[in-house]
Amino acid sequence: MSTAASQKRGFGTVLWDYLTTVDHKKIAHLYLFGGGFFFLLGGLEALAIRIQLLQPENDFVSAGFYNEILTMHGTTMIFLAAMPLIFAIMNAVVPLQIGARDVAFPFLNSLGFWLFLFGGLLLNCSWFLGGAPDAGWTGYVPLSITSPGHGVDFYVMGLQIAGAGTLIGGINFLATIVTMRAPGMTYMRMPLFSWTTFITSILILFAFPALTVGLFLLMFDRMFGSAFFDVGLGGNAIIWQHLFWIFGHPEVYILILPLFGVFSEVISTFSKKRLFGYTAMVFATILIAFLGFMVWAHHMFAVGLGPVANSIFSLATMAIAVPTGIKIFNWLATMWGGRITINSAMLWTLGFIPTFTIGGMTGVMVASVVADYQYHDSYFVVAHFHYVIVGGTVFGIFAALHYWWPKMFGRVLNEAMGKLTFWTFFIGFHLTFFIQHFLGLMGMPRRYWTYLEGQQLDLGNQISTVGAFFMAFGVIVFVINAIYTAVKGEKAADDPWDGRTLEWSIASPPAHYNFKQMPLVRGLDALWIEKMEGKGRLTPAEPLGDIHMPNSSFLPFMMSLGLFIAGLGFIYQVNYNWAYILLFGGMAIMLGSMLARSLKDDHGYHIPKDELEREVD
């Protein structure tokens, strides 16, 4: 059952193992591969965007196709790349950090992954089935209603399925953190990454339903002739914008908060210091999440909601700078007086601080209503959000991967390639996006297929495109690094970074039951405490006994596959009757799997005590 044994098994067995696994560590791998694949795809789309904008009046792609690429770039990156990659890290780390043997709902955990994957695949099927969605990642009505073909239907179904997966994942992490913490692991002893995971999951729980409803209404309008957004029948297009941004703004904090957690861990480990102002960090996170729900209309300043609404939302938005600032300064203070080791994980973190600060600054600038009348829907906003998303989320994901790769795969990523990735990506990033602030102010709106000659926009766009290729180079080096490490990377020690938290107290990669005995946690930075007291390992909180483990299951895959097929049928039942076969067939597969799940009791199995005793420590 151990990982070493599984590597010797044939390809078929390994595949089956992954298709049926409910082990959070393997699900983390799945999320990493799935999210990584979509990141490359979204990046490829970004490159197409940049090539099209290389010259004025370019026609590398046609106008309609550009809109498809643009929409799919945004949608793919946010829903299918960034969030799954974040889930990969959460799955790999959180149960270990809180000293749990597994997540609360292993079965649902796997279901969440497969729903995401099939939702993403469904969305991308649109490329081959008459065209991708083309109404922007925000899918504003009435444009998305009038959009011909099935592109937007794929957007609706794909996001609905993937979104269900995300919601399930969020609830799973919430329950895990509430009920599965090791003895002594009180809330205020939880490592910051676990905390941010917890808060992020709350955001998911409360934000996604708004999107779910929005997508339903859009689907009804497009497929069943309802009139939510049909102005002729009294509908209102602004409702969509509210629903989308009530989801959408918390979503951007879903994208950043977990990485704030990652940076907190990385900074504290490599500065050899305890996190400065831990309590403040926790409350800042909560405050950001809380405020994050009250600011959505800052995306709608130009909609015409009136000066009162605009002012309130502007103030609320600016307020978020305060807790975020607390975080930035606490990180700096953690490093102050520390002993800083700079390696790849730390480089990404150090790159993040100035980059994200700039992104946050421009965030506050766009929060100033009247100034936003100029910035809104221009490249200035594009620059703002890539500074926070790439400079925060993507940098953070890279930092996390370099930091936890040993724990996830038992091998250390190559440092030289890691540094090369960082520097090319970092330089390319600033080349690409810094100039876009000025492009926006010089009158270049976003979502422009092309721009005219002689408007002083040429040079800026060229620089921007060149930068994108630097980033692409960096990403390719990272992919090579990952493959190289898998083949002949250096084997990782259990605790390669002299870590502070529980995950470093067990093997790299951990046994499938994580902890042979539940550890007794005696304070913040549980492992560090033991190290300082000279023990270096955690006291078990229980005698060695049988370990209860969940059974693998193929049903999550089947359910998601069923939904995928049903989704296709649903989209096409509008034009073809045969699509009902898909629709009902898919539903049958899904419901059948659900029935199988509820009829067959699944009590899991036990690893007997003597087997555990036989395994070497």
Binding site: I171, A175, T179, P209, S226, A227, F228, G235, H548
Partner: protein, 207 residues
């Protein structure tokens, strides 16, 4: 830990639904889910409130709604909430047969509610020509009330499946959380209905 979760008077914990780790997880996880459902219904309510006057020359709320039927539906659903409380009472007393009985009554009440709702919708469609496509108001009304009805339908299917699956097994620590979580769900549906009859029907009548 014992592998056999079945209950007997000596091992009967006071809260069988939370006696195992799995039970605790289910319990907590389900409450979280309900937190999310709150926002889901809020979004539908919000849409309804924004569009309730957008009748596009079709029938208005005041013209459509009759209070008698809504009152009956309300009483049916509220009572079913109480009967599911009785079921949980017997669950805690480890009295499986009585629990099944009260759950059965809950199901009957739930189905009666659904029947009324179906009658109501067909009434609007045939008598008033008021459909999902008539106006933005129509869309919003059917979406909100229909979503709730969908939840009731799903709840019925869930309840029947639970009762049948466990009919021969009696209570144990493996299925107690399942019954408990169902009752939470059922109460939540009732909560939503309270707001529906208030905001949609009563306020629709008041204008």
């Amino acid at each position: 830990m014992s592998h056999d979760h079945s209950l007997n008077p000596e091992t009967m914990p006071s809260e069988p639904e939370k006696a195992t780790q799995e039970g605790k997880n289910k319990f907590i996880g389900f409450w979280f889910f309900l937190g999310g459902e709150t926002v889901l219904f809020a979004a539908l309510f919000g849409t309804y409130i924004a569009l309730r006057n957008s009748t596009a020359d079709g029938p208005t709320a005041n013209e459509l709604f009759g209070l008698e039927l809504v009152f009956i539906m309300t009483i049916l659903l509220l009572t079913s909430s109480l009967t599911s409380v009785y079921a949980m009472y017997h669950l805690k007393n480890n009295d499986f047969k009585k629990m099944q009985l009260w759950l059965g009554i809950t199901a009957i009440l739930g189905f009666s509610f659904l029947a009324c709702e179906i009658y109501e919708f067909t009434h609007y469609i045939t008598e008033f020509g008021f459909t999902f496509r008539s106006s933005a108001f129509g869309s919003a009304f059917y979406a909100l009330v229909g979503f709730h009805g969908g939840h009731v339908t799903f709840g019925m299917a869930w309840l029947i499946a639970l009762m049948l699956r466990n009919a021969k097994r009696g209570l144990n620590l493996y299925n107690a959380p399942k019954f408990y979580v169902f009752s939470l769900y059922w109460h939540f549906i009732d909560v939503v209905w309270v707001f529906i009859f208030t905001v949609v029907y009563l306020m629709g009548k008041v204008g």
